[in-house]
């Protein structure tokens, strides 16, 4: 995490995109299931952060 490593970060980013992008033959229903699950996880995390806001460390 220091300046000068942009090319390495770009390669790591591309590697992650290659690994995580669903294959072209993934059924749409499966993509939607993953998206809905991800959305629920994101919302859950947001609520957890909001609940904990009053106990935030300085």
């Amino acid at each position: 995490m220091a300046p000068g490593n942009e090319a390495e970060w770009a390669e790591l980013g591309a590697e992650k995109r290659r690994a995580l992008t669903p294959p072209p033959d993934t059924p749409i229903g499966e993509l939607l299931r993953r998206g809905q699950h991800l959305s629920a996880q994101g919302a859950k995390l947001l609520r957890a952060v909001e609940r904990a806001d009053g106990h935030r460390r300085p």
Binding site: L32, Q36, L38
Partner: protein
């Protein structure tokens, strides 16, 4: 009622049960085109049809929908002859909107849409070309981010003239 997480399978099941005509657009259509990300709501594109609007309202009522703005129980005048309705439902926030000018009119978007089978329910999801048009037109930061994500997956994106964007 607080804001529920978006449950597309529940929302489309209600729309199909009421025989409503619609195409899924917005975040879930981006996801269906393989850019899997989180989304906060469900977006339906609907035709200009009072009869269909009544079916959509019936579907939203099945989901205990109220108008988000003021928690008002859904009335016909909230959608009929309107261009947009945002409802709070048991399946999350649902945006119902009309199409624009071709190629972003309802008929063209519907004709190009992809069939989806999710939770045992069949319905239509906007194709890549329609999504790109909507995103270019909206032009918010999150839309530009979606276009970048979709381009990483699909390569060069469709680039057809959009009224209001490509006028001399």
């Amino acid at each position: 009622m607080g804001i529920a997480d978006p449950e597309l399978d529940v929302a489309v099941a209600a729309m199909v049960a009421e025989d409503a005509r619609f195409v899924v657009i917005g975040g879930f259509s981006v996801i269906a085109n393989r850019f899997v990300r989180a989304t906060e709501d469900i977006d339906f594109l609907v035709p200009d049809s009072a009869e269909n609007d009544r079916r959509v309202l019936a579907a939203l009522r099945r989901l205990d929908g109220v108008r988000l703005r003021d928690d008002e129980p859904l009335q016909e005048e909230h959608l009929v002859d309107q261009i947009h309705l945002r409802a709070k439902t048991q399946a999350g926030v649902i945006d119902v909107m009309r199409g624009g000018l071709p190629p972003l009119d309802f008929e063209t978007v519907e004709e190009r849409a992809m069939p989806a089978d999710y939770g045992g329910v069949e319905f239509l999801v906007a194709s890549l070309s329609s999504i790109v048009g909507f995103k270019r037109l909206a032009g918010r930061a999150r839309d530009r981010n979606d276009l970048i994500g979709l381009a990483e997956i699909h390569g060069e994106l469709p680039d057809e003239p959009i009224p209001g964007l490509n006028e001399d």
